[in-house]
Amino acid sequence: MYRYDGYDSKMLEERVRQFQGQTQRYMDGKLSDAEYLPLRLQNGLYVQRLAPMLRIAIPYGMLSSTQLRKLAFISTHFDKGYGHFTTRQNIQFNWPAIEDVPELLAHLAEVEMHAIQTSGNCIRNTTTDQFAGVAIDEIEDSRAYCEIIRQWSTFHPEFAFLPRKFKIAVCGTLEDQAATQVHDIGIYLIKNDEGDVGFRILAGGGLGRTPVIGQEIFDFVSKKDLLSALESILRVYNREGRRDNKYKARIKILVREAGLEEFKSKVFAEWNILRGGSLTLSQQEIDRCKAYFKDPAYRELENTPVSLREALASDVLFANWYSNNVTAHKRSGYAAITISFKKTGYPPGDVSEEQLLLLAELADKYSFGEVRITHNQNVVLADVEQGELYSLYKTLQTGALEAANLNTLNDITCCPGGDYCALANAKSIPIAEAIQRKFDDRELLAELGEISLNISGCMNACGHHHVGNIGILGVDKKGEEFYQVSLGGSSRRDAALGKILGPSFAQEEIPEVIGKLLDVYCENRTTDERFVETVNRIGIEPFKTRVYTSKE
């Protein structure tokens, strides 16, 4: 993974010192709340009623075992012994005292970590597919470009006060596990007719109150022009994005109100000036960044060794985990495995100090000392020898991390909701738990196959409910918590926004409603048809009828 040199370390130290000074002046009453607000946000610190929160950046999801151990330390010294993986490959800690935050950031800096630009109206952490570099269907490893974008966007002086937050995702795989099309800028690595690899760039995607799928701005940008293309989009947005209404301030609204063609022509006018200038990437820089993401020292191994076959034959729980949580790897004899943080009874994405330490140990023992956080709040060990899978699985059991539910109904993506978040309309964690309890049956989950279920506690959509095959949104109805259900969303290549089923439901109705939706699916599906495919084929009417008719 990327390692800091003297330049990176120095800038990070300076940032920690700067924020120390700012926090001191705030404490001394020299900075008003309003003046301190964007400063602390751009250092990841939310101060909210229920639980203050610090969001720490995990650039494109990559963590080393050393960093995991530091996070474990932070979870006990500054939080109550756990953290929370977010839907943007970051980690959050609750309850840090403002005056402790500079010290906490100094700890992070020791392991090349920070909370820079993890909130506020600036360019946020760039995200990518968690299988970058090991996927079998990859055009090119996206991580070098993520790092290039990270550096360009970090401390970018022109874009620290955008109309609203700005999120970029990069995807080099065909599958697309990065939700690329629902980002302010979504970047696909593509190969053109001449065989050159470059970028297709979308803009104007996003979730929140007005969910939109991004539209194509550049059909092909060569590698050297990546940063000038991004800078052009950002400059038009910074100048022209709406600032009069925070709900209309995202770039998606600008693209819509200006019209795609008009927006594009403005971007191209900027690009004509910037292209070929000092932002032009040299091959040397691309190679330098790529060198940090070279293949680790793989051994020559056979696929499906005898020991694995024996274990699969003898342990049915392991076989179940293997079939759900193991992903094919580009190298023979290796596997990418996903550790599910969705065990029933545990809040989705929550990670305890012990689990952080265990992850560090597993990373060192099985996967070259690195893990990756996924945008579905799970953790990937990307380079595990197939012969080690069984012993790895056994260790996972000791840390309550053996849930074999990846990509099933119970692999619920869920925001912190009303239990933690001051903005929530409704709780989300108890909804996830109630659903998990109802369907916590290995055979049933296998029977239902691949389904994504996403829950957000309010319109801000941190749980990405619009792009869940089943989406659940907490709404406030005259002071009571209700839940709106949508169907047919997807965040993959076939990205789509879910359609709202109808009137919302009370909390206790939800598990039963989900049950009815699944009944309709099972009755209508053709062989091998996934839930979302059935929804797309038969439409939402049959689901609607079942859920609302039986209600009366």
Binding site: D5, Y7, K10, M11, E14, R15, R17, Q18, Q22, L31, E35, P38, L39, N121, I148, Q151, W152, S153, T154, F155, H156, P157, E158, F159, A160, F161, L162, P163, L227, R235, N238, R239, R243, I273, G277, S278, L279, L281, S282, E285, R288
Partner: protein
């Protein structure tokens, strides 16, 4: 005379800024002075202003577009960009365009809600003078310019991004 920061030093301000609603009737009282006109007045009454005043600059509010003065840059020693509120980021891009794309060589001044913690980035976008908000001490703000010793991306102070300079 009010104090301001120019090229990282505290100086007294020898310019007068006219409010947005001002008209030519105020010119006689300012005869011989250096005056910063609001954009609309500059566009309407430049000739009259040049007759009566010693030097003129122009200021743009955050939503105003520099295309209106892009052809006149050689005749302007100073362009001021207003921050209605410090978190309005538009003037950063305006200044960057003036300095980097249009090669404006005169003074680019930040006016309005200008505070210490924005100075470092403002300077990197092309501003070189700062009329710090009246309740702040300009002397106490000077250290802000050295908050960061380097930058990743290209700025108006350092055209080469770090990736072309790493050794």
């Amino acid at each position: 005379m009010a104090k301001l920061i120019r090229n990282r030093a505290v100086e007294s301000d020898d310019w007068v800024i006219l409010q947005a609603a001002s008209g030519i009737d105020v010119f006689p009282a300012l005869r011989g002075r250096k005056v910063i006109l609001p954009l609309s007045l500059f566009l309407l009454e430049e000739e009259e202003a040049r007759l009566q005043l010693s030097e003129i600059g122009v200021w743009l509010d955050s939503h105003e577009n520099i295309k209106h003065i892009a052809g006149r840059l050689n005749d302007l020693p100073l362009i001021a960009l207003n921050f209605p509120v410090f978190s309005d980021g538009r003037p950063y891009s305006t200044a960057k365009k003036l300095r980097a794309d249009l090669k404006f060589g005169g003074e680019i001044r930040a006016i309005g809600d200008v505070l210490r913690d924005q100075l470092c980035y403002l300077e990197r976008c092309g501003f070189n003078s700062f009329a710090i908000r009246a309740d702040q001490e300009p002397e106490e703000c000077l250290s802000a310019f050295s908050d960061f010793s380097d930058t990743y991306t290209s700025t108006t102070l350092q055209d080469q991004p770090l990736f072309n300079r790493r050794t």
